[in-house]
């Protein structure tokens, strides 16, 4: 897919590239595709490329001297179809316990959505979600693919302390809180996985472009995961789906 993109200077050392403002699978994949191209390009001086649902921020090592030529380099790279996409994306299964103990907002959510708990779990675990980007908190995944039947506006009053691992729905998005944090999404479960660990490099085993799939686990399975993670006998590779 080729889009008409908007290029603008963001600050002395960065350029913002924008797609139409939608959470859309095609746009998201085009963003990731272009990001990958920029990261693997020979354009000099680029140090970081950050993306979101519909934009890319290209950060340069030093002040951009000639903004128009920098725009041109990026534009011609976007149009260059000779570059082959480098595929190294994983699909990761994420265990979620939807028990009442963890799903503190599930009751209200179930009433508002007129869906039973098991219907919610079925709808939430069915899709393969795309990780469009990571932001907000270290390790917070922005996922695309939530079933529209599960969309529900954020809570009017945010919860001041959402527990680490909480799996939640906010508007048309679903995500996992990688650490304790304030948050306004409806909490429907909890995952025992450590999504962010600054002592490892990279600090997240999930990256933009990867796919994730939730699956329901019992409380006792949750505790087993937790124990394995704590004593470091847990192997994350066991949750990677081999294509």
């Amino acid at each position: 897919m080729m889009c008409h993109l908007k290029y603008s200077q963001y600050n002395e050392r960065s350029i913002l590239i924008e797609w139409p403002a939608f959470i859309d699978k095609n746009i998201g994949e085009d963003v990731l595709f272009f990001k990958n191209k920029i990261e693997n390009s020979s354009i000099k001086d680029i140090v970081e490329v950050i993306c979101s649902y519909n934009s890319i921020l290209v950060i340069y090592a030093s002040t951009i001297e000639n903004i128009n030529s920098a725009f041109l380099d990026l534009k011609s790279l976007y149009l260059d179809t000779s570059k082959v996409q480098i595929k190294n994306c994983n699909t990761i299964r994420i265990p979620v316990c939807y028990d009442d103990e963890f799903s503190t907002d599930l009751k209200n959510y179930s009433i508002e959505k007129k869906l039973s708990k098991s219907e919610i779990i079925t709808l939430h675990t069915a899709p393969i979600y795309t990780v469009f980007f990571i932001g907000f908190l270290p390790g917070f995944l922005y996922l695309g693919g939530l079933n529209s039947q599960l969309h529900l506006d954020r809570k009017t009053t945010p919860n001041l302390n959402v527990k680490k691992g909480s799996v939640a729905i906010g508007g048309n998005q679903t995500g996992i809180y990688p650490q304790d944090s304030p948050g306004g999404w409806h909490i429907i479960g909890n995952s025992p996985l450590e999504l962010f660990n600054p002592k490892t490099n990279p600090p997240c085993y999930i990256k933009a472009g990867d796919k994730v799939k939730f699956y329901a686990i019992s409380k006792s399975e949750y505790l087993e995961f937790q124990a394995e993670i704590k004593n470091a006998s847990f192997n994350i590779q066991s949750l990677f789906v081999n294509d």
């Binding site: 950050i50 950060i59 907000f136």
Partner: protein
């Protein structure tokens, strides 16, 4: 072998008092924003760079950043230091010392810094730099990323071993401290600036604002409120210096520890120099926001 172990134990600074909020910072943590990791780094790049420069350090050497009230430090080895940024009335063993110059410090000397008389943040650099833990390519302290995330009383801070104790030749560079008194900052238009009405644009540009009590390394809020009817945006990248406008009308200037993405309209963007100037302001400071021409 003996020598290195000896020095391992001795090349240190003991924190007698940590001050109000002190952290070790360097140029920042690059390459991890895609994982949602803030870039961090010194709030006042000019002060930090200057301090490292007078000591002949690399630019990326880590320094101690102190906020509002300075620390009291005991040097367990002789070294050379430089103090820059805001004036916290630095004293060594009770005697006032110059800022913006290299200072030889003997073993067991005690450096004490007080309340910031000018500016809001003060830097202490040591010859060769502070050597606290490197996490994801940076020593910059930050909650969730580093442990500890700030300096506390009785901490021991490792520093580089100083081989030569000769003072650096007093290079002819003068600290241009006028920015500490600057009352205006330059901005460019942010991606959502044009969504503001002409009247709202006039309310954010070339206007005086006051720094609210909500100011820290993550963000500075400015007053008064700017009434607006902007819709939130699809979560998008932000940078230090990005000015967000909330539905409640708060202007939030993101600083070094800011999140990597945000959903509020990005109406303005501070220049690098403007971030440095604002980082030296505190609650109640007045600041004019000017469009860069």
């Amino acid at each position: 072998m003996h020598r290195s172990i000896f020095n391992l134990f001795l090349s240190m600074i003991k924190v007698l008092k940590s001050g109000f909020f002190s952290t070790i910072q360097d140029q920042g943590r690059f390459g991890y924003r895609n994982f949602g990791v803030p870039v961090s780094g010194v709030m006042d790049k000019y002060a930090s760079d200057f301090a490292n420069q007078i000591l002949g350090n690399e630019k990326k050497s880590a320094v101690l950043e102190m906020t509002m009230i300075g620390a009291k430090l005991q040097f367990l080895v002789p070294t050379i230091i430089a103090i820059t940024g805001g004036d916290m009335n630095p004293k060594i063993n009770g005697e006032s010392v110059d800022m913006y110059k290299s200072i030889m410090v003997s073993s067991n000397a005690v450096l004490s810094l007080g309340y910031a008389k000018s500016g809001f943040r003060t830097y202490v650099a040591v010859k060769g730099g502070f050597l606290t833990d490197m996490v994801l390519g940076s020593r910059s302290m930050l909650k969730v990323i580093t442990e500890p995330f700030k300096i506390s009383d009785d901490d021991i801070l490792p520093i580089a071993e100083t081989v030569e104790l000769e003072g650096t030749k007093n290079a002819k560079i003068r600290y241009k401290d006028a920015y500490l008194r600057a009352n205006s900052i330059e901005v460019t238009k942010g991606p959502e600036f044009n969504k503001l009405t002409q009247q709202q644009q006039d309310l954010v540009l070339n206007q005086n604002f006051t720094v609210s009590k909500y100011n820290n390394r993550m963000a500075y809020q400015l007053l008064p409120l700017v009434k607006n009817n902007l819709e939130s945006i699809l979560t998008a990248p932000v940078l230090p210096g990005t000015v967000q406008l909330t539905p409640a009308g708060q202007l939030i200037v993101l600083m070094r520890d800011s999140q990597t993405t945000g959903g509020y309209p990005r109406v303005l963007q501070l220049t690098e120099n403007a971030i440095t100037i604002l980082g030296q302001k505190t609650t109640g400071s007045s600041i004019l926001i000017q469009l860069k021409t």
